[in-house]
Amino acid sequence: MEVRSVLLKLLGAEHEQVLLSLYEAEGAETYGSLLRSLSTVLEDNVIPLSLALDQGKGDIKETRKVLFEQGVCKLSHPGGYGGMGLPFGVYALAMELAGAADASTAMSLGIHNTVADAIAQFGSGEQKRLLLPSLLSGEKLAAFALTEPSSGSDARSMRTKATKEGKNYVIQGSKMFITNAGEADVYLVFASTGSGHGAFLVEGSNPGLKVGKELGEKLGMRGSHTAEVRLEKCKVVAEDSLLGNEGLGFEHAKLLLDSSRIVMGMICVGIARTAYGKALAYAKERELFGKKLSDLQLTREKFANSAIDISAARLLCMHASRLKELGLPFTSEAAQGKLFATEMAVRTCDAAVQLLGGYGYTSDDVHRHLRDARLLTIGEGASEVLRMLIASQELEQET
């Protein structure tokens, strides 16, 4: 059974409302036309390739290229190195569209852009000059290497070490579940240093960086490439490689994750929106007990719940985005948005499988959304960790 893809253009109306509530009318109109234009491009050039990516038949380079060429990475980076200087919210909404088109591609791009963000925020003039233009254009691909075989949620306990030796650092250790591994031209590797933790830019061609075998049994996000990355006496030149302060790498990481959580949340909103759209279309056609599936009350309840869920998730993420734009603290809000959106996506995609019944269970084109979403309650801050973060912020405010 062929399942109709969601017309990305349907998202246009929902996005228009969000834009109007966040920005001045003129800005909202401009951003709206950007997103509409992007929708058309994604619909024509990414969605048709999406199923094949899940089935291991496609090449994520093709779909990523579409997003790079459109300039999705450039949207909210400041001008100067090729950025378009638009509000972060525009990028966030663009990533919802990307997630709705193809989850693996969106995630791959989002993670890549987090590294670009790291360089933009913490890089030296030279590092920015050397790397930002090619990262923003997609000429070069980046990977974010924080997680290790023995430490995910407890990132601070990482074992990878970077030891200063004259003008160099030698990095030793191993990173795990790294998206874009093997494809990336540059890796942002976090390691403990004498004074805390450091973030190091390591070139993919560095002989001390070894990419392990591709993790081939992933439940979802099958379009992207994920593997272990080992640093074996990996020598880097301190001045070129160290990003920001030698002891504050972990603090840098936390700041980066705040923003990337908004993005991951929005990607999940997109995934949920696509699955929901397929369920809607199916319910309007499917007949049972002399009626359409969409006529039955229990179905309608599900749709109402999903509609609210998607909207709430989007708005929660965009709230964090707006706080970020205004220069206000947004750590808890970003965590809330990501937590809610990712759990919502799993809920909504699961409901879609249920609604599509036998076809839901037996079609890659339906259950892949659930499988894709399922990663994101784990990665980029597991739900448990985010709950602890949110709770401690709440309690701090009470005292």
């Binding site: 059974m1 062929e2 109709r4 056609e285």
Partner: protein
């Protein structure tokens, strides 16, 4: 004498249909018909009224400009209530130019033309063919008659006269013609039409459709992507709003999803059969009979049964 209704088509078959339309309109107006033939009288001309053979200082039907100039001159000289032109690409340009020269309204793609008071009213497809619009325009006017909207009139033409006109300066020159190798049966007049769409994976697979067409004695057409994007078939095979309107007894849509624009071109078919592996394809909404299945299995099976019977 009361101004007449003029009819024109560069295509002899279509001219017969336009003559039928013109005869109806003239009757409602209580006026007469003038059939315009440019350069020479077509063999087998069917018309109900007088024929005006229009001759110019050079070939008039060589290009739309000269044809339009000729028609406009005749119209001015004779007086006219309406000029009905057969809808082909050439006809569309000619009609538009005639209307602009005579400063009268022009309506395209018309069927069911009638006179209501001082206005000509017709029906035509709108919004991709999803809707039908009834449109009126003040007479005198120009209107295009959709191919297949009328049955060609039966009858020999009436008295004939010749008129001389000036073709005017030649603005567009024909520098080359490249004839296509295709000798497709005319889909517009075929009794049975088989049509291929994107369901076919490659050009070579169209042989399956051709086999089916041969078994049925049918003409082979296609949806727009196959002629325009893919170039697997010529433009003359394209069936749809912006291509040919067909009205066969039997139309088989194979591997066609049924975009509005395509459906617009087939809705006057007597029986529509659809073969498509996607049961949700919109084309099933306009099917009399359908098979939800892989065309690569169904078409050969169908061809085989037809050959046996």
């Amino acid at each position: 004498m009361t101004a007449s209704v003029l009819s024109y088509s560069e295509n002899a078959d279509l001219a017969g249909e336009v003559s039928a339309a013109v005869a109806e309109v003239a009757k409602q107006l209580g006026t007469d018909v003038l059939a315009l033939e440019l350069d020479e009288i077509s063999a087998g001309l069917r018309s109900s009224g007088r024929v005006v053979l229009v001759k110019g200082d050079r070939e008039l039907e060589a290009e739309a400009d000269s044809a339009a100039a000729a028609i406009a001159q005749v119209a001015k000289a004779k007086g006219f209530r309406a000029i009905l032109v057969g809808e082909t690409r050439f006809g569309t340009v000619v009609a538009a130019k005639v209307a602009a020269r005579l400063k009268v309204g022009s309506l395209g793609m018309g069927k069911n033309l009638r006179v209501e008071g001082e206005r000509l009213v017709l029906e035509r497809d709108a919004y991709g063919g999803k809707f039908v619009a009834r449109v009126a325009v003040k007479m005198p006017c120009v209107a295009m008659v959709q191919a297949g909207a009328y049955t060609a009139i039966d009858g020999a033409p009436g008295p004939q006269e010749t008129m001389k006109v000036t073709a005017g300066a030649q603005k567009v020159a024909l520098v080359d013609t490249r004839l296509s190798q295709r000798g497709a049966t005319d889909i517009k007049s075929a009794r049975i039409v088989v049509s291929a769409g994107r369901g076919f994976a490659k050009k070579e697979d169209l042989a399956l459709a051709q086999d089916l067409a041969t078994a049925l004695g049918a003409a082979l057409g296609c949806s727009r992507p196959l002629s325009s994007d893919l170039g697997w078939m010529g433009e003359e095979a394209h069936i749809g709003l912006t291509g040919a309107y067909v009205h066969p007894q039997l139309y088989l849509a194979v591997g066609i999803s049924g975009q509005l624009q395509h459906v617009a071109g087939i809705k006057d078919s007597k029986v529509i059969v659809v073969i498509n592996k996607d049961g949700q394809a919109p084309i099933f909404q306009v099917a009399d009979y359908g098979i939800v299945g892989d065309l690569y299995d169904v078409v050969p099976a169908l061809t085989k049964i037809l050959k046996q019977s």
